[in-house]
């Protein structure tokens, strides 16, 4: 299991344990982390599972793929380190990952 810390827009935090191989979105949903909507169920179609990867982790998570980038364009307030959590697969080297969430996914 690997640990991920989710930081909400209001500053509250929750650490969850995730089995490697699951997406960050699946981990958030199964652990009751609010703010990850994922209306399309992880098919990179809705853009409502956006997170911001903390700067220190970006090299390990990598940047958004082309489809992700195109989806993220739906959001007005773009930020560095943004990813769609359905496209981020958890691995052992991401143990300790910290991501923050936007105030809204719309």
């Amino acid at each position: 299991m690997v640990k991920v810390k989710f930081v909400q827009a209001d500053g509250s935090e929750k650490v969850v344990e995730i089995a490697p191989g699951l997406s960050l979105m699946e981990a958030a949903q199964s652990s009751g982390v609010p703010g990850i909507l994922a209306d399309c169920g992880g098919n990179c179609s809705c853009g409502t599972c956006r997170v911001f990867v903390e700067a220190a982790w970006r090299e390990r998570t990598g940047t958004a793929n082309e489809l992700e980038q195109d989806m993220l364009e739906m959001h007005a307030n773009r930020q560095d380190g943004e990813r769609l959590s359905c496209q981020l697969t958890m691995t052992a080297e991401l143990d300790g990952l910290v991501v923050s969430l936007p105030a809204s996914q719309f």
């Binding site: 909507l37 169920g41 990179c44 809705c46 993220l72 364009e73 809204s104």
Partner: protein, 413 residues
């Protein structure tokens, strides 16, 4: 646990024209008898917002029920029946995933944003022609917009728009479950299929192939790279026309109907491009055309009720935003309403079948509303309107309006 047969379910006459005029009232009455499901002659209707979310997001336990519609309509073995049963949404899981993944890159917000100048030019051209009239049937006007955008996207000859629009009008009524429409449905499908096969063949043979960079170029290129069979490429383009026609047209028409009662908001739409987006999102909560059919693919127990495998369920996306349990003051049109993430509107469905064209639809509706509000000033209702059949692509039938023609407001530099 109870079976559906043991429940004393209300019966909703969804095929009745009186039902189409006010489904919200009928489903609210049904809710008094059972909180989330009702029976009808064409399947069960899940009409509670939370139940829709809970069930429709279970992709692994449901399958699209378009074969069930073809069964009811007695259209097995016909070209329209084949298409309906084999279109992308109806394909087996792996085939669907492969096709959807292949084409997803062409339906992103970025791609939709790139199309906005073309969408603006299209609606401006239409308004140049229609606005001087001073009055017209808004639904008829709106019906020319999405099809004009779609024709531009695939490079289809504009002189064929009237005939194909008539075909799409007919095909949009195909899921109303009225068997008397079958002959005209077949005729309409044949016309559309012929057009799609011809434009693909002509593009493949053209020296311009790959040079125009329009959606058809991109779809041909993507399907060739992904090894997509020609038949599935044709079906996707046919689906693109059918799915994109009366959905956008009906939403735009209903949004204008809402705004006729709110001239203050309409005025703001003329001046504020971004506010149009909020107006449309709130409009989609109050109304959208879709009720989606699914079969249960296994036994499902929900709220202690057994839904046996192969039960046909309809999900009322179209009025889900009017649920009194999920939304406060649900009948009030308020674009500044705070969206609760737990009860966000679900007009474009949920899960792996979420509408592929939603970003294109949102972009073209926003561009259209902003221009319309500038050019058709002080609109008011100019007669009566009716309603389209409830199952399938529901919406207003006709919307006579009168207005003061005006020039566009210059955009800020």
């Amino acid at each position: 646990m109870q079976t559906l047969a043991e429940l004393d379910l209300p019966h909703v006459a969804v095929e009745d024209p009186a039902f189409a005029a006010d489904p919200v009232r009928h489903f609210r009455e049904a809710k008094g008898q059972h909180p989330w499901i009702a029976a009808s002659d064409i399947g069960y209707w899940v009409h509670d917002y939370t139940a829709i979310r809970d069930l429709l997001s279970q992709d692994d336990k449901l399958r699209p029920a378009y074969d069930g519609i073809i069964e009811i309509m007695g259209a097995h073995g016909t070209p329209w029946g084949r298409f309906t049963e084999q279109q992308m949404i109806s394909l087996p899981v792996e085939q669907h995933r492969m096709l959807r993944t292949t084409f997803a890159t062409k339906f992103t917000p970025r791609f939709a944003n790139q199309l906005r100048p073309m969408m603006q030019a299209t609606i401006k051209r239409m308004l140049d022609e229609w606005a001087p009239k001073g009055s017209f049937d808004f639904e008829e006007f709106a019906s020319s917009f999405p099809i004009s955008v779609m024709f531009t996207l695939v490079g289809a000859p504009v002189e064929e728009i009237p005939a194909i629009r008539a075909s799409l009008e007919t095909l949009g009524l195909a899921f109303s479950m009225d068997k008397s429409r079958i002959p005209e449905i077949h005729e309409a499908f044949a016309r559309l299929e012929t057009l799609v096969q011809r434009i693909i063949a002509e593009r493949r043979a053209s020296p311009e192939k790959g040079q125009r960079g329009d959606l058809l170029d991109l779809l041909i290129e993507t399907s060739d790279e992904g090894g997509v069979p020609q038949r599935q490429l044709e079906d996707l383009v046919i689906f693109f026309f059918i799915a994109g026609y009366d959905t956008s047209k009906n939403v735009l028409t209903y949004t204008i109907r809402l705004l006729l009662d709110r001239p203050d908001l309409y005025e703001r739409c003329a001046a504020d491009h971004d506010y149009c987006r909020k107006v449309l999102e709130e409009g989609l909560r109050l109304f959208n055309p879709g009720s989606v059919p699914r079969f249960t693919d296994q036994d499902i127990v929900y709220r202690d009720v057994l839904l046996p495998k192969d039960t046909m369920l309809w999900f009322t996306l179209n009025i889900s935003g009017r649920d009194q349990l999920a939304f406060s003051d649900p009948d009030t049109f308020n674009p500044d309403r705070e969206i609760d993430p737990l009860t966000r509107p679900i007009a474009f469905s949920l899960g792996k079948h979420m509408c592929l064209g939603q970003h294109i639809a949102r972009a073209q509706l926003q561009e259209a509303l902003h221009q319309i509000a500038q050019r058709l000033r002080n609109p008011s209702l100019d007669g009566e309107y009716g309603w389209r059949p409830y199952p399938g692509a529901w919406g207003l039938k006709g919307l006579p309006i009168k207005f003061t023609p005006a020039d566009a407001i210059p955009e800020p530099a």
